[in-house]
Every structure is written in structure tokens, then in C-alpha cells.
Amino acid sequence: MYTIHEDTDRIAFEFSSEPGHIDRVILRAESFLDRFEAAGSRDFALVLRELLNNALEHGNRGRRDKSIFAAIRRMRGTLFMIRVHDQGDGFDHQAMDLAIPDDPFQTRSRGLPLVNAYAEKLEFNEAGNEVTAYMDLRGETAFRVSPGDEGCTITPSGSLSASNAETFRKTLSGLLASENAAFTFDFSLVPDIDSVSLSVMIGFAKSLARSRPDVVPSIVNASRDIVDLLHMTAMDRIFTVRPREAA
């Protein structure tokens, strides 16, 4: 048995516990995602597969007369909900440790910790045979560099963290050789910046000060938290900082 219900923001599946159906569900769910501007579909497929496998193996214990229900719903923007329900007896999710095991070679019980690591939030029903994962599929932060008469503007599309610091560093070192009259970092879309990315910006400002002491880089549209952080780390000595206008 394999049925699909689909409308604008939601797709739902009901199918018998056969491994072959899981691939079909994932393929179909991925094409559902394609409708939206969602990146990171590989993480999505991984989480969905893990949840479906769990439902089949541990929930329904492979019994083909038992069904699995799966629904994917877009909540808003790039936030998606995945809900998987099986007809098994459930498990004691309170006792489950969702931290990734420290031993990288331990393969048992990695499934849900892995899902937890990728998902924004993980919820279980009382019985423990329904799990809901929320995922933000906004994808990696991109760095848009736009040249202008007043110099160039660098606009990161999201959080600045260790995971994208290397791309950030390369983007900036590529700009050092340019003849731009000014460098402006537009932080309109940046909710967070970590110390690794701050270090990247410090490195940039220092190199710039050595080669072109007349140019002071600036940061505009920074959130209140980021302005405070730039002040605490004394980075406002080497960048001109302008906070975000209150909405």
C-alpha cells in the first residue's frame, strides 16, 4: 500500500512497511521541496530517511501489515516540519540521550542523535511512536559582493560562524587586491557572528590598514547584539560601526 496526499504547503504519505517505499517517499518529498526556495535538501533527505527507517525497523519491526504515516509541511519561509508516525508500541524517548556519542565508531543509537543534530527541534508524542522534526533549510551563508561608486559592499546572507569562516576569509582576501575606494559590510541579514568570523574581519582590517591606511572599513545595519559585541571586542576601533535603524 502506498498513497500520497498533497496540497500547497503539505505532502503526506501512508504506506506499508516495505523498504522500497522509503526511497519512493524520499524522492517524492524532495521534489515537493523543489517548489520552495529551500537549500540543504541533502540534510533533509538524511533526516527523513533516518526517521522512516526507524519507523520501519524499530517501530513496526518490519511487519508489512503495519503502516507508516509521514507528513512534510512548510511552516514558513525555509522552516519545514517532518512528522513520522508508526503503528508500533513506541519507545521511552525521555530516557534517550540525544547527544552524539563521543566515540565516532559507535554506530548503535546514532540515528536519533544525528536527526537531533540536523533538526532545529525534535518532539515525540506521549506513546513514543510519533516523532516530529523541524528543520530550517536556509542553506549556507553566501557572500554577495557588489561594487558601487562609493566602494564595494559585502553582504553575508546569514550567520557568520566557523563553518563559513574560510569562505569569508577567501572572499575578503580577494578584495584586498582591488582598488575599491571603500569597504562596507552590510549586516542586515546577519543574526550572529562568532569569534572565528570576527578574527577573519580583524585580519582583513589589519591587512587593509597596512596596504591602504587611508581606508577605514565600515559595518552597517548591525543588530544591537552585534554592535555590543563589536564594542566589547574593541573592534569598533578598526571598523566604523553603524547600527540597524530601529524598525
Binding site: K121, D194, S195, L198, S199, M232, A234
Partner: protein, 408 residues
Amino acid sequence: MSVLTDKHILIADDEPGLRRSLHLILSQEGCRVSQADDGLRALDAILEFHDTGTPVDLLVTDIQMPGLNGLELIDELNKAGLGIPTLVITGYGDKQTVVELLRKGCKEFIDKPFGPEELVARVTDVLEKLDAARRDTEETQALLEAEKSRLTMEIETYRKRFDEISEQIDAATAAYDSLLGVPPDCLVEAVLKSRPLSRLGGDYAGVCDSPEGCDVLVADVAGHDAGASYHTILIKAFFEENCRTKAPGPDFFRLLNAQLMESGEADRMVTGLFLHLDFGTMTGEVVSAAHPPLLHLGREGGEPALLGSEGGPLGVFEDAEFRSETFAFTPGDRFFLHTDGVTDASFLDIDSGVRVKLGGEGLYDLIGAYRELPLAQQTERIWADVLKFCAKKPQDDMLLLALEIPSP
């Protein structure tokens, strides 16, 4: 030696005259020739030759035959899993059959009437093509084998390299783990909780005794890699040296800053908080380098105080200046030092779409909520709540150090 030598060819044709002449021509070329006078016998013969280890290399068959015709013979052979190479003798009126044969993938024909040379040429041609195809397959096979063994070797090399690096990481992890930690017999009671984001962290905490009290340092190096851990080792070395030389906090940070500037080719920012506790005068000194402040929780209750909020980061500015703040304390007072990973612990609120951070206020609330518990339990509860807050998914290295001034 021609390609025909010793090849086993079976002729299936119901015309005895044609069979005989084909036999004669092909035998003269060195072939081993068998004959069958209809399709059914041809099928039996081929199966028997196959079973007795003298398989037929090429079937030369007429189309019109009693029993099984040529087409049916080919079908039966395919069904039996013996799709052997076949040269089909076609005559006038076999057009439709030829189309069908082509559809079955049989491409070799010879049109009646034909002379001995033409027959030999066609048979030679078919057998040569077969040999070439076989050689190709063998060559491809050999190439694939070579590629496979090359890849196997490469994988082996990578695996070895991986094992080596794993060992190094294990060693580095052990070294990092041993960096953190508080001596068990300190003058001050200390409880440390830490959790690196990856296996190697950039957070450091150290406590060491001095004759009049103790020195404490918490530091946070940007990054979660081996480079960060290297800086952590440097910081630990400097801190331990300072415990011996007893330089005042601001001087210690100036020295550390100079050293980090010298070795910091990658501009790694370091934040830190240095705390000196003097049990003789019951006064403390705190120096901050862009680090989150510490929380001073008085034993007698009252408002907790935040200490150490001035000072730029380490490893960034040549001319960095650091100032110390002094304060008084009493026995039973507690101090909580942390890295920003703790207050950056966050979760996404699904309903509003807003990412909620624990923040300083959240941490101070937790510290206050468990203040009646003994230090170790209080710290344990705070730590468990912080991990729960971020669903055990830290955004950064996290470290919390709790201290209590012993009662005399």
C-alpha cells in the same frame, strides 16, 4: 594460422548438397565442421557439444528447415542460455525474416547463391569480429583490474594516513582534555564543566594556588580546531608561568597579548578573564580581555554582582591596555566564570521563528535558581539546564567554572 583454424562450426541446412559443399570448404580452411539436417537436430547437437566440452564457435544456419526453422532455432538457443554467434543463410523471399532477425540482434547474413570465397570471407569476418570483441573485453577487463588495484592501493594509503591523523587527533584530544581541569586540592573549591563543539576546543580554564590565595584564568580562543588548541597550550604555559612570577593581572595580559601577536599569524582573537583572590586581605582583582564578566554571588544573599567588563581582546592590538577591578569577598562567596558559548546556547522557537538565546540573564537566572544547593550540585544543575536549553546542540565551545571561597 588463420582465424578459422580449429574453430568448431555447425552447419544446419536441410539440403544435403549445400551441407556437403559447406563442409568441404570450411574443413579445407582448418575448421572442425559438424552438420545437422534440420533445426531440431541442430539444437540437440549444439546442446550436446556444449555439455561434452566441445562447444560450437559459430552456427551457420539456413532459414527454411523442417522441424525448427532458423528463427526458432535461434530462439530456442537463446532460451537455453546458449546465444552462440550465428551466420544466417538467406535467400530470395526471406526479407520479412531478415527484419525479424535484425530485431533479435542477429546481424550476420550471407545471401544465396554464394561462392566458396565469399563464404570463407564472411565466416572469417564474423570470427574476426568476435575475436576482436573478445580481446576488447579482455583489455577492458585488464584495464579495470589495473584501475581497481591502483584504487585499492590509494585507499590503503589514505586509510593509513587517516589512522595516523586519528592517532594524532586522539593524542591532541587527550592533551586538550588534560589542559582543562582544576587541581583537586586547590585552596578554593572549584567545579569545572566544559564541552568542546568538536573534539578539540579553544576554551581554557586554569586554577592555581599562590601563598596568599589563588589565581584563576578562563580564556576563549577563536576556533575549534588544532590551531585553537595550540593557542590554548600557549595560554596555559603563560598562566602557569605567571602563577610563579605573580605579575599583576594587567601585566600578565600585556605579556600574553604580545606573545599572541607574535605567534598569531592567522589573527586569532582571544578573550580572557583573569581573577586573583587574596585570602589574607579577602580582596579580589579581576581583569577582562573582551570576555563575558564573572558573576559574584554573595553567601549572605543580596544582588549578585557582575565583575570585569572593561578591556579589549588579546592577540589583536599591539597597544592593548588592560585594567583591573578590585572587590571584597567573604567566605562562602561563589564566583561563576564562563565562555560565551554558554550564553550563546540557543534554540529556534518554532511558533515565532525567532532564535532564542540563553543570554547572560538566562545564565544568571539559572545560577540564582540553584544557589541554595552545594556548589557541585548547583553547577551540575546549571550545566544540565544549559544543555537542555540548546537540545544538546551547542553553537560554540562551552565552559563554566564555579568557585567557592572556603570557610576558615
